[in-house]
Amino acid sequence: MAYDVNGTTVEHDEEGYITNLSDWSKELADVIADAEEIEMGEEHWAVVNFLRDYYEEYQIAPAVRVLIKSIKKSMGPEVGNNKYMYELFPYGPAKQACKIAGLPKPTGCV
C-alpha cells in the first residue's frame, strides 16, 4: 500500500502510517490528510509541527493527554482542549495527527 505524491510512491502500513519516516514531506502530509478527509488549516499544521518537533527531541510520539497538555501550554486553552482537538482531528488527535506528521502510532495508544 502506498500514497502517491506527485508521481512518487510512499509506502504505508495497513493503518496508513508511513513505513519509512524519512519519506515525509509537507506535500505528503497534504496527501495523507486528504485520505483522512481533513483539510489542513493553520492549527492542524501547528499540531503536526509540534508532533514532529517532539519526536525529533524525544524519539517518541506523545500520548494524547501529553499532546493536549503541551498544546494548551504553547497555544493556549482555546486550542489545547479535548473538544477542539477532536474537531481538528475527529479520529483522535494523537493517532490521526501522527499519521499526517509521518510518525509511528503513539506509544500507549490503544
Binding site: Y54, E57, Y58, Q59, I60, P62, A63, R65, V66, K69, S70, T107, G108
Partner: protein
Amino acid sequence: MSEVIKKFLYVNRKAPYGTIYAQEALEVVLIGAAFDQDVSLAFLDDGVFQLTKGQDTKETGLKNFSPTFRALGDYEVTKLYVEQESLDERGLTLDDLQDIQYEDEDDDYAEKPSIIVVSRARMGEVMADQDVILSF
C-alpha cells in the same frame, strides 16, 4: 478507574542495548503512565548505563532511545532512583548521566531534576516502600 493509587517501581538492571529489556521497560512505563499510578524507576547494576549522556547507536543499527527518558516528566514520571554503588563500580558519576528534568506544576512549572542518586541501603528502603515492583 480505580481510586486506589499504587506505588509502582520499574527496576532496570541491564545495559541499554544488547538485549531488548531496557527499551521494552521504557515502553511499558510510558503505557503504564496512563493509569494515574505513582510510578518511579530504579537504575542499578548495568542499568545505570541506560541514563548515560551522548549515546550513539549508529554503528549498531538500533534506535537510540535515550532521549525518551527526558520525556518522562511529561508523563508525570518524575522519580528516577540511581544507585550510587552501581555508578561507582562502573567509574561513573552523576555528570556522566543525562540531565533529566520535569516541570513541577505545583511550583509554577519550575524545572526540577528527576534523577535521585541513592545508596544501596536507601534503594532497599525505596523498594520496601512499593506496592508493585517490575524488574527488567
